[in-house]
Amino acid sequence: MIELTGVKKSFGKLEVLKDVSIKVDDGEVVVILGPSGSGKTTLLRSINFLEKADSGTMKFSDKIINFKNPKKKDILYMRRHTGFVFQNYGLFAHKTVLQNVMEGLVQVQKKSKHEAQQIAEEVLQNVGMLEKKDSYPSQLSGGQQQRVGIARAVALKPEVILFDEPTSALDPELVGETLEVIKKVAKTGITMIVVTHEMSFAEDVADRVIFMDGGVVVEEGKPGEIFYKPKEERTRQFLSRIIPQDAYVI
């Protein structure tokens, strides 16, 4: 239900996306893997226009949006129908956990404070952060902040949630709990596009894996295929450099 075609993006002379096309169906969990600089984060951020792609088209539900000259209406539409989880949590520093989650519900979806609070508390309960609803982000650990970030996105019930390397900024001990929460979200059947390095997560949860390198899609397929029977040499090289968490060679 999201289809990107021919996306191109350059930063000055550096071509970061060199004609990328991907398709994500309703309810699919798609993981995008790739080395730094492969363009995966830029691609993700183009979807909700945190980056502005130079050219290409996006088909979202029944809307067709041209990246070259997107209409302001369309940009706002995408931002209101997608959720985004930031690598560095991106919580509103001056608002409590509860206020962070309620903000979009009240200000964007125009729900009453009462209704918003109910929804927010339910979602916070699901991510295990209800206890801390009156805390400020500066009082929380990275893992806790990220869970709130996920709650904030989920609470708005978007059609698709975009995750930008959700665990890359976390201390290793905190990665596990955050991944558990993301898995939980995946189980609800919502469409997700996740940019990540976490291979075992991808194996567990992804319906499909896309491997990007140097601004193009190199290969895509089911996790099992990509991880154990990669067709492309570049994929093989990338995978060999990342040691899977459960592989322990004696």
């Binding site: 909700n48 226009f49 945190l50 706002l76 931002r79 209101r80 997608t82 959720g83 985004f84 930031f86 560095n88 991106g90 919580l91 509103f92 520093a93 001056h94 608002k95 409590t96 903000e103 979009g104 200000q107 964007v108 400020y136 982000p137 500066s138 009082q139 929380l140 650990s141 806790q144 904030r152 996105a153 708005l156």
Partner: protein
């Protein structure tokens, strides 16, 4: 030492009687300048074409104009042009009935807006870019992101600077005395006109200004205590 306590006292009472003039001038100017200064800074931050360049040049140059020069200059322009402009706009009020404090407001608002805009520009630098993105990502448009996410986070950053600006403004308001507005200083001197001894008047004026300044510092202190609670980091587990 010839310092007459009784004439000092008279001057003090007279000065206090005119304190509201100064306080009103200062307070209204400050509030208006906060709004205008923030608008200017925001326009410059978003690099809105034409306007940001105009403001950049204007603010940079205008900050070089001392308040006293501005007051005298605008006053003379006002007095010279009033008759002709009033004719064009069909204003029937004669110039003698126009309160010169209007010029004072104009001068002070213009100057304070410029310095506030510089403070706010500095505050923008203290806000993490991700706060903008977080606002956009949940669908808040630019205006709502600014008013609900960015500006509130600027408050603790701006408070010390704004407090200084406000005290500076209080002192600058003294200069409207140069265009026949009776404020704290000229108010304090009214009794002196009878006695030829000005020192007591000026000391009384200084005292009243000082007290108001201390009041501002107290308000500022309380404001700083109550804002930025969310900035304090607690050891995390």
């Amino acid at each position: 030492m010839s310092f007459s306590v009784s004439s000092f006292w008279e001057s003090l009472v007279s000065a206090l009687a005119y304190a509201p003039v100064t306080i009103k001038l200062t307070a209204i100017t400050f509030v208006v300048s906060l709004v205008l200064g923030t608008i200017i800074a925001t326009i410059r931050y978003y690099k809105i074409p034409v306007l940001s360049q105009i403001f950049a040049v204007f603010v940079t140059a205008y900050l070089g104009l001392p308040t006293m020069v501005a007051i005298l200059l605008y006053n003379i322009i006002f007095m010279t042009c009033y008759a002709d402009v009033a004719n064009v706009l069909h204003i029937t009020v004669p110039i003698s009935e126009v309160d010169p404090i209007i010029i004072g407001y104009f001068v002070l608002i213009l100057g304070t807006s410029c310095s506030v805009s510089e403070s706010v520009r500095g505050a923008f630098r203290g806000i993490d870019k991700v706060q903008f993105e977080a606002g956009y990502s949940i669908g808040l448009g630019k205006f709502k992101t600014l008013t609900r996410v960015i500006y509130p986070q600027m408050v603790p950053i701006l408070l010390p600077g704004l407090q200084n600006s406000l005290i500076g403004l209080l002192k600058a308001s003294n200069l409207v005395s140069a265009i026949s507005v009776i404020e704290i200083m000229t108010g304090a001197l009214l009794p002196s006109l009878l006695y030829y001894s000005y020192l007591e008047g000026y000391v009384a004026a200084a005292l009243v200004y000082w007290l108001i300044g201390i009041g501002i510092e107290v308000i500022g202190y309380l404001a700083e205590k109550n804002s930025g609670k969310y900035l304090k980091q607690v050891a995390t587990g």
